[in-house]
Amino acid sequence: MSKEAEMTDPTQLSQHIEALLLASDEPLSMKKLRGLLGEDISSADIRATISELESHYQNRGIRINTVAGGWQFRTAPEHAELIQQLWQVRTPRLSRSALETLAIIAYRQPATRGEIEALRGVKVSSNIIASLQERGWIKVLGRKEVPGRPHLYGTGRQFLIDFELNSLSDLPDSAQLMDEDEIQQIVAENQAELSESQDNAPPHQDDNSEQDPIYDNEQTSLQTETGNPEIIQADIGPAEQAS
């Protein structure tokens, strides 16, 4: 109390931002903040003030989080269990199929249901699509102009808001995700090498000299794969840096 009183009061700007962030029912973007605070306050000032506020709140029960291109007051994650008690209903757990479907849509968008099914190797139930839609995590972006004109799904803004992402590029590991062509290339190269080493016939080996270092790294890692699926991903990182 006494210490607090000695402190310099938060600036007017800081107070305004705090009040706005609390009062808003969605994350407030820089653009919205500028519009509300008046044009004579620069983005730089706002940014600096927010970063002060962020550190002010960093050890408190509530935080200022960066979400969906804006800022919002949220509770600190370590109090989740306590807060859950406020409600009778417990948050239902997401099934693996829902998460896999969501992950494929998030990383591959726009994606059709057929594409999701092809990747997962199983039928995707409409219940899953519908419940993801109801949560606002996915939405129909349009239709794919192929026979049947299937819906194209992508993530909605609520996905960013709920998963604490500032933008889609904040999706973890999105840069490392391999597309089909890359995967096929890796498979082809690895299988070619395997069959060569099996036959003890090294005539094509010189071809490897022009191979992308990424694949060599991956090959090594994949061959020593220990059942941990993280390894594929984990190894691409360094390889990418190398390239």
């Binding site: 009062a23 600190a76 997962r120 199983v122 839609q133 808001i161 998963f163 604490e164 995700l177 594929i232």
Partner: protein, 273 residues
């Protein structure tokens, strides 16, 4: 709440509660312990489990062995859920086909003349799926609004403010409609009508055109470009007639047909104000 459970070892985390049959031991045991099919997310998941738990090479899958193990898992299932069975059985036949192709000399070659391993496609599929399986796990472990973090649920400051009209949101509307469909259950059959949307739209158009009084049928049909709009317009008129929203008058056989709005004009005009 779920923090504790969801923060559990990555391997377990994405399994739903009823499905947590695999244990850490199961992972490291090379003697394959029995597994239940419903703990998997499909045939690819089963194959990955077999491959990873036995530390097999994904680029050099011992097809004969894997096929045997895969079929054993399938057979252990007392009764296969028919819905699910399809995907699993397709994979079974794929595996058996691969098994037989592995016995034959390689006939297929790629553009550079290299032999194509018949297992290439499967390996690619497995790698692609494994990536998303892992990303799904990560997504599930991310702190999530409403489960791990919470924001303000009410905004007392907003109460006294006169707020503008809400913005259109097609998605929100569709979601709302879906909820209605689900809620009303049996009424749903009345709603599988979107294919008839054009007729409904046309019904609206006709009602509007009739707002100022009667119209000849030909007049209504005159500006319909092409066969399809024509048919839709006629269907719309028939439907309006059947609903007794319009009256159709034909004073003599083969005479001109007049359409009249069922409600008097002046009253209709009032309605719009």
């Amino acid at each position: 709440m779920n923090q504790a459970t969801e923060a559990a070892p990555a391997r377990e985390a994405p399994l739903t509660d009823t499905q947590s049959v695999m244990t850490e031991d199961a992972q490291s045991d090379s003697r394959l312990p029995p597994v239940r099919l419903d703990s998997f997310e499909g045939p690819l998941d089963v194959l990955l489990h077999l491959i990873r738990s036995q530390k097999l090479e994904i680029f050099d899958i011992p097809i004969a062995m894997i096929t045997e193990q895969y079929l054993a898992i399938l057979e252990a299932e007392a009764e296969l859920d028919l819905d699910l069975a399809g995907d699993y059985l397709v994979m079974a036949s794929t595996l058996m086909q691969l098994k037989s192709r592995m016995l034959l000399p390689r006939l297929e070659v790629d553009e550079e003349g290299n032999e194509i391993d018949p297992r290439a496609e499967l390996a690619a599929q497995l790698i692609a799926y494994e990536q998303y399986r892992m990303l799904a796990e990560e997504l599930g472990e991310r702190s999530r609004l409403g489960r791990d973090v919470f924001t303000r649920p009410i905004f007392p400051e907003a109460d006294e403010v006169e707020r503008p009209l809400p913005a259109p949101d097609l998605d929100a509307m569709l979601v709302a409609f879906r909820k209605v469909l689900k809620r009303v259950g049996g009424e749903v059959r009345h709603h599988i009508f979107s294919d008839t949307m054009s007729v409904r739209e046309q019904m609206g158009v006709i009602l509007e055109r009739l707002a100022n009084g009667g119209m000849q049928l030909e007049e209504l049909l005159l500006d319909q470009p092409g066969r399809e709009p024509l048919v839709i317009t006629v269907l719309a008129i028939l439907e309006l007639w059947r609903q007794q929203t319009v009256t159709v008058v034909q004073s003599e056989p083969y005479g001109s047909i007049t359409l009249l709005p069922a409600s008097p004009n002046n009253e209709y005009a009032e309605l719009n104000t």
